[in-house]
Amino acid sequence: MSDRIEILSTPLSVYDAEQFVVDLQAGGICVFSGNTRAETSSDGRELVALDYEAYADMALRQLNELAGRARERWPILKLAILHRTGRVAVGEPSVVIAVSCGHRAEAFEACRFLIDELKRDVAIWKKEVWKSGDATWVH
């Protein structure tokens, strides 16, 4: 069992996550990167970044538990879950998940499961930061 699960205040590397899960037994690797998307609010304000905050002790515990649930369902070789805190500019990744499995179906399903569950449950919050200077929590 080889998991890399981290909450980081520095830019995430999709490359590092993917390289971490490379394995001689892996036929399929699925990597998901969730990025801050350019957006304009209904009243014409432009989004410049998302500010992420985590209850790190809890979030890490939850992510490890989530990885364990994924391993019970799919024959995962290696997995990485990286999540940002702090300011993530438009175009930059806030979360990167990489999963390697013997076969592709399992890798896709496990990766999708991990991001869906992460978003549903894990103690992390984001605030939209607008060009105008104001900021709004997403809840």
Binding site: G34, Y52, E53, A54, Y55, D57, M58, A59, R61, H83, S94, V95, I115, L118, K119, R120, D121, V122, A123, I124, W125, K126, K127, W137, V138, H139
Partner: protein, 81 residues
């Protein structure tokens, strides 16, 4: 007994504080602590019903009993990812 309280995101912003300690009577539940927080920080009162609670890093129900040294976190609806 003393319970350590952690506030996050909108609740932290509205209360103006991230960490505090509540001095609670024996037998106090999470619901009791939440009522006390609402009185102490009226700005979070309307938002608290939308929040979950984590006791020592795990989600739990508001009827749970607290004990000395616990860490109780107010968890607004999450929006990670």
């Amino acid at each position: 007994m003393k319970v350590s309280i952690k506030l996050f995101a909108i609740v932290r912003d509205r209360a103006g504080v991230a960490d505090l300690t509540l001095d609670l009577p024996a037998g106090a539940t999470i619901a009791f602590a939440a009522d006390l927080l609402a009185k102490k920080y009226p700005a979070i009162e309307t938002f608290l019903p939308r929040c979950a609670f984590a006791l020592n890093l795990e989600y739990t129900s508001i009827s749970e009993l607290l004990k000395d040294g616990d860490e109780l976190a107010v968890i607004p609806p999450v929006s990670g990812g």
